[in-house]
Symmetry: C2
Subunit: 426 residues, 2 copies
């Protein structure tokens, strides 16, 4: 059903995230046909999922239909479907909506949550890697508060008001800060009979500091800002078990909580193993210096599902969007080289710095030896993120909502979802 004419090479790109879309755009005007495949008809902006999960923004504000990226690129097409497998011998990808044959393939399927084999945590905790996972967190937080508002048993009420975020990376830091502000700034006016000062947000990090990719000074600044917002930051602490009501830490301590958000690990999406190529321990596919799979020279892997060692002896390249987009450009370039019989180039990464939002008026950012925290890092974070959002009509709404949230702590999307989608609190 998706056979392309043999006149032009057919490049199939799996995944419409930052890497996949960027790769497709790099083929604009080239003599190839490009098909982008994704299980959703949209690209979402993962760095703002935490705002969806805490009622600040809505789905359409952080997601854009994939086809809108290709309005002026006539050689790009989109295929809605979930990748289920590969027949690399016959250069074919299987999806739940039909098979697609390719001449060149770019795998940019991204990552999913990693639980390190802890089944109980996988079953009872909330991951936060997709729009619907983030909306589920928002629903659950609102249900916990509503239950707490009528709960007469003090211990149970405290457990309903205890929110545990595991993982001190940017996602965990931003989520913990946003929940604390939701509970302490936004909701009290609607719950006059509930003492939300007793709400307890804990950020749990296994190592001795938050935001490991940042300079030490900023790590401490982030922890300090979070603590000022009322977040109980626990370093050198690891979770060993969670049954939906009680968290057990490695040191034996237990805390009652109906909410545990797991932002502590990522691994390549499961279907990567179907490719039959060599994988690292976290499922990422090991790629060569030109980003192709050594065993499969017409297959490139980029972004969160690629395991790329830039300098031998160093850890693999971090799974962040800027690197995915840089890899996308390199993979697209190398495919054109292959088509034209020219030598491929080695991928070289460029550090664009990193930043995180700790809450209202508090951010941290670092690039090389330059560091910034507090108000200016916060303002820079807002600017960078709104610019990266696709679609100017959306930018305007997002800025408007951020303004209202900053001035009045307004969060327009604090809505539950319908009941069959909710975790049972009884």
């Amino acid at each position: 059903m998706n056979e392309k004419s043999n006149a032009r090479p057919h490049v199939v790109i799996l995944g419409a995230g930052m890497g996949g879309v960027k790769a497709a755009q790099c083929f604009a005007g080239e003599p190839v046909d490009v098909t982008v495949v994704d299980q959703n008809n949209y690209q979402f902006f993962a760095p703002l999922l935490y705002q969806l999960s805490t009622g600040i923004l809505e789905e359409s504000e952080i997601a854009l239909p994939v086809r809108q990226f290709f309005r002026s690129q006539s050689n790009a097409d989109f295929h809605l479907g979930c990748v289920t497998g590969f027949d690399t011998a016959n250069k074919t990808v299987f999806t739940d909506t039909g098979d697609i044959s390719y001449d060149y393939l770019i795998v940019a399927l991204g990552s999913t949550t990693r639980y390190f084999g802890m089944k109980d945590i996988e079953e009872h905790s909330f991951p936060m890697k997709t729009l619907s996972e983030s909306a589920a967190i928002r629903d659950h937080i609102m249900r916990c508060i509503e239950s707490a508002a009528h709960e007469t048993d003090e211990e149970k009420r405290q457990a309903l008001l205890t929110f545990i975020v595991v993982g001190g990376g940017p996602t965990g830091v931003e989520e913990a800060g946003a929940i604390a502000e939701l509970l302490h700034n936004t909701l009290p006016r609607d719950y006059p009979r509930l003492d939300l000062k007793k709400a307890d947000v804990k950020l749990i990090e296994m190592t001795d500091s938050l935001l490991m990719m940042m300079p030490m000074k900023l790590r401490e600044s982030a922890a300090k800002s979070l603590r000022k917002k009322g977040v109980d930051v626990r370093l050198n602490t690891a979770v060993s078990n969670y049954d939906g009501e009680t968290v057990t830490f490695k040191n034996g301590e237990t805390v009652k909580a109906y909410t545990l958000i797991w932002a502590s690990g990522v691994q390549a999406v499961d279907v990567c193993k179907e490719l039959g190529a060599k994988q690292a321990g976290d499922g990422r596919i090991i790629v060569g210096r030109d980003l192709s799979v050594p065993e499969l020279p017409e297959v490139y892997v980029i972004g969160d599902c690629a395991h790329f060692i830039e300098k031998s002896g160093e850890p693999p390249l971090a799974t962040i969007a800027p690197y995915a987009m840089q890899e996308a450009a390199c993979a697209a370039h190398n495919i054109m080289c292959q088509i034209e019989g020219e030598p491929q180039k080695t991928f070289v990464s460029h550090d664009l710095g990193s930043m995180a939002m700790v809450g209202r008026f508090a951010g941290v950012m670092a690039k090389g030896s330059m560091t910034m925290d507090g108000f200016f890092a916060w303002a820079a974070w807002l600017a960078v993120h709104v610019i990266r959002l696709a679609g100017w009509t959306t930018n305007f709404i997002v800025l408007y909502k951020w303004l209202l949230n900053t001035l009045f702590s307004t969060r327009p999307a604090c809505l539950t979802r319908e009941r069959d989608e909710a975790k049972n609190l009884q």
Copy 2:
């Protein structure tokens, strides 16, 4: 768990729709305690569900957390829970989140979709009475278009591009118009390889005209406007069967379509029968002239689940929001009369007119002998609906989105939902 002190009468209001919230607000400052119960933490504005289902607006733009209505009303509280039954002898309501005892009860639980016993239609068609039902329609429409874009079988492609709306009331009229504009104005720029001119939107109505509550002139104007937008309006046509792929009409004709939206019947929500009071054929509870249940003088029923005959021999009062809100005020008044030992008043309805949106620049409205159609009715519809939306922050975003939709046919929320929530098209 929800016992109130006996010092003040406890009024429990079931349902946070237009009627329920209005009733609660009528008790502001009165010496009673009010508890509003709803299975969602929000009130949604049903007249705009069709805009959610066609990608114009998002959930938070047509829904507002219930508690925000009561920020300045200290005697009102909210209870999140789904009503499961009643013990009227002991004046207790059962919910899935605990029992609630009452002195006075207002039942304002609203209506659900009615299939008139047609199980195959209930199984395969899309209802449109809630936020998630409307989001499911949006998801399904987008999946049908995506499938059509790669479908080589012409008959199947046509079935994917055929959208059938059943029911010629305001919901059906608005939904058919909005789908036609989505297919013909918004989407073509994103599907250059798909001939969306072949998309077929049919509006099916059993009687001989649309919008039965309107004067004849406007009914014809609405049908004409829809036809101009490319909607195939079929009057005097009834659906007898739908298996998910083929619609069969009463006259034996069949049409292949993967989408059938059922906007053709309403009935009181199921739990009304648990009250044990007399019900009409559509499940509505038969109330007396003061809106109380004859057998249960401390129980009032208002809105879509009340069967109220204003003048004997006439049909029961229509299930529309303005009447629900008028009934709310009367029920609240009568409860205060009961408490104070004064006589209750008879409910008298006031016709506020009716209006419907047929699409861009086309509306119809009627009040008494005054009628209007075309551009001015369209503009009046916009004004009335944005004013009725709760929350000024939202009004601004809605107006902005309507402006962009009117000027550029922009629909920012044309997103699929995650796969496990979708109807299978294979």
